[in-house]
């Protein structure tokens, strides 16, 4: 009902965001945002992504040391210009305290997965070997199934899933990535006191 000043909503060929700009390569980015620990803040963040057509590949939220502050770690994908918009738009939200893009910095990243895998008498030994190699844990055992807990980066989790898949995975539950910048290596260690 509300026509924009001009030829309206029909027929536009829709210059989507950034289509005409020098785009550069799409790249995966791990972004961490410190936000007010208040109801509705997560919805502001996810609403921003869906409303502006940005991607979220994974998302993790939990309280920090300061109970008034939460950390949102999200993994997204985009070219340089999209990622610049994402960080700017996040910063623009009134409840966002700080935004960090870990990509191209030194950082540690981990995900966790729970994997319920079929464990027959013939395959148990093989599963336990895989558990050993991947340094994961068996956290639940039943006559037919093992439930494994595995942590690592995305690649490691994908690798174990690939290995286990032919044995029959019944169910998986995965977290998104969490990340933290590495502390500066050159900083001298303080001793004494």
């Amino acid at each position: 009902m509300c026509l924009s000043h001009g030829a309206g909503r029909t027929g536009d060929d829709g210059n989507a965001i950034g289509v005409e700009m020098e785009n550069g390569q799409e790249q995966k980015h791990t972004i961490s945002a410190l936000v007010d620990n208040e109801p509705g803040v997560l919805s502001r963040v996810t609403g921003l992504f869906s409303g502006r057509g940005f991607n979220i590949e994974s998302l993790c939220v939990a309280e920090t040391m300061d109970p008034l502050v939460s950390r949102i770690t999200l993994v997204t994908r985009g070219n340089e210009q999209i990622i610049e918009q994402i960080t700017k738009q996040l910063n623009k939200l009134v409840n966002v305290i700080k935004v960090m893009d870990f990509t191209n910095t030194e950082f540690v990243e981990r995900e966790m997965a729970l994997i319920k895998v079929r464990a027959e008498a013939t395959t148990r030994a093989e599963i336990l070997r895989i558990v050993d190699i991947f340094r994961c844990k068996v956290v639940d055992v039943s006559p037919q199934f093992y439930t494994l807990e595995v942590t690592g980066n995305e690649g490691k989790i994908k690798a174990i899933l690939d290995l286990l898949s032919h044995l029959g995975i019944k169910e998986i539950a995965r977290t998104g990535a969490i990340a933290m910048a590495r502390s500066k290596k050159e900083a001298p260690l303080k001793t004494g006191k």
Binding site: C2, L3, H5, A7, D12, G14, G18, E22, V94, I97
Partner: protein, 562 residues
């Protein structure tokens, strides 16, 4: 002093200097109304909540202050959404207070309950659900601060009924500091230096100014920059009035229905200085054909505006007033006369485009041309009126033919493009500026989207004049169908339109009509001589098109001169 939540709302409004608010009562918000009646704040009772937000928006644009509106829960709240979204797109400071069911009922699908904070999250600068009366003063303080600072915008405060009834000790915060919100006002001096060096080197510069110049009150700084170095100026729809409409350096508006020479100038300039504008698709057309030969300087207080649609050479985050002020400082030593001489070839080039393709229409003896009506309103009001518009052809003709001289005088829903915006916005502007003439230039389609506000204008004796350019069509879409759909006018003929003169009279408002060109001026003069609101029904040429025009998705130099 212990006050109830409702009393705190009213007292806080008074602390913020609010003198007028627009609203509509309802069960959830009655506590505030009960207290508001005893206060010196004047409340304008609207006939639809959408009207209330547009009035607050029009008030804000005309006055430069924050507009305030007050509505009840549920449908009262949802009816404000279009107005909020419009204010958000156009960066207008508006505060919307909505009623809400009592906190224990929230989430229970109670009567007239709606999650308005959830609904308006993407179209407000920020919003609040107040859960404790103790939080109320700080929330209101923050809301006003957010609405008017940085890139302005609407803020919504949702007020559950029990919060309004509960009491607490009231102390309105004097100062405000938000650790997560600190807009950058001061432009970086090194960026300004770089910009100045680009500007001083440019042979064919153009200034492209937007609504940010108006909201930052930097028209004088803009004019000074343009005049010192003889740089021609174009503005967006939102920027009209930021630069004098009769100035020799004025190019007219750019964009889809901008002037031919403004678009050609941008298409051929070697430096584009964007000030408080956001490279909207109606301005750029096909992005890679927009200012293809130019380096671009972009001044904006909102970092997300920069590099959102086009890449720029010199981004400058800051208030337009500060950035332009610093630029003017750097270039003040340059010799005006020399610049004027050096700029002649560029101005000549632009003048050629202008002379070959001026803004024009042919006014015959029989039918009234809509452009003629706008031109005559301009002449009769001597360019001093506040003009609001609806959306569609009326909006574009108003933009093209009323030569705005001052900021805060053109009031239009630029980003969202809301039909039904102009009339309530005109009422808000009239409340803000009781001594000025306020005209709503409307279409016969748009005016019917908020026609009920005639009662508001009448009851408060607000002498808004509505000029309906009545062509019997949804003209802009009809034009679109004429040009791109082989004249298949699907659903754009407005069969069943009312007799607008009789409609006005039903509201107790004067209704006038003009059907022939020679009646146009006398009827405008008559409307101005009437003390109250007036509807003028101008029967205009039904199939007139807005010209020139750039079809959507084309380059801005590929104008259709229909």
């Amino acid at each position: 002093m212990r006050l109830s939540g409702a009393e705190i709302v009213v007292e806080s409004l008074m602390q913020e200097g609010v003198s007028s608010i627009f609203g509509y009562p309802g069960a959830a918000i009655t506590d505030i109304y009960d207290y508001l009646e005893k206060s010196p704040i004047r409340h304008y009772l609207v006939r639809h909540e959408q009207g209330a937000v547009h009035m607050a928006d029009g008030f804000a644009r005309a006055s430069g202050k924050v507009g305030v509106c007050l509505v009840t829960s549920g449908p009262g709240a949802t009816n404000t959404v279009t107005g909020i979204a419009s204010a958000y797109m156009d960066s207008i400071p508006v505060i919307v207070f909505t009623g809400q069911v009592p906190t224990p009922l929230i989430g229970n699908d109670a009567f007239q309950e709606v999650d308005i904070v959830g609904i308006t999250r993407p179209c407000t600068k920020h919003n609040y659900l107040v859960k404790k009366v103790e939080d109320l003063p700080l929330v209101i303080k923050q809301a006003f601060y957010l609405a008017r600072s940085g890139r302005p915008g609407p803020v919504l405060i949702d007020l559950p009924k029990d919060v309004l009834a509960n009491k607490t000790e009231f102390k309105y915060p004097k100062k405000i500091e938000m650790r997560t919100y600190r807009p950058t006002y001061n432009a970086h001096p090194r960026q300004i230096e770089k910009a100045a060096s680009y500007i001083l080197k440019a042979k064919k510069p153009v200034i492209y100014a937007g609504g940010g110049v108006i909201s930052s009150r930097s028209s004088a700084e803009l004019k000074s920059l343009a005049e010192s170095l003889t740089i021609p100026v174009t503005t967006t729809l939102m920027g009209l009035g930021a630069f004098p409409g009769r100035h020799p350096l004025w190019l007219g508006m750019l964009g889809m229905h901008g002037t031919y020479w403004a678009n050609m100038a941008v298409g051929h300039c070697d430096l584009l200085i964007a000030v408080g504008a956001r490279f909207d698709d109606r301005v750029t057309g096909k992005v890679d054909l927009f200012a293809p030969e130019a380096r671009i300087i972009h001044i904006d207080i909102d970092p997300t505006s920069i590099r959102k649609n086009v890449s720029v050479d010199i981004p400058i985050v800051g208030d337009c007033k500060d950035a332009l002020g610093q630029l003017n400082q750097l270039i003040q030593k340059s010799n005006k006369q020399e610049w004027r001489k050096a700029r002649q070839p560029w101005l000549e080039e632009i003048k050629d485009w202008q002379e070959n393709h001026p803004l024009t229409y042919g006014q015959g003896k029989e039918e009234i041309k809509p452009q003629y009506v706008v031109e005559k309103i301009y002449e009769v009001t001597k360019g001093k009126a506040i003009i609001s518009t609806e959306v569609g052809q009326n909006q574009m003709w108003a933009a093209q033919y009323y030569h705005f001289d001052q900021p805060n005088s053109f009031i239009t829903s630029g980003g969202l493009g809301v039909m039904g915006y102009g009339f309530p916005a005109a009422i808000g502007a009239q409340v803000a500026c009781p001594d000025r003439i306020v005209f709503d230039i409307a279409g016969d389609g748009s005016i019917q989207m908020n026609i009920q506000e005639l009662a508001t204008a009448k009851a408060n004796n607000l002498p808004v004049k509505i000029a309906i350019l009545n062509n019997g069509y949804l003209g802009m879409v009809r034009q679109f169908q004429e040009l791109f759909y082989e004249k298949r006018y699907a659903q754009t003929f407005l069969k069943g339109n009312p007799d607008f003169v009789q409609l006005a009279e039903a509201y107790g408002v004067a209704g006038l009509r003009a059907e022939r060109p020679e009646e146009v001026v006398p009827v405008i003069e008559k409307a101005l001589s009437i003390k109250g609101p007036v509807i003028i029904d101008f029967k205009v040429c039904p199939e007139e098109c807005v010209s020139p025009m750039v079809p959507a998705g084309r380059g801005m130099t590929e104008m259709l001169l229909v």
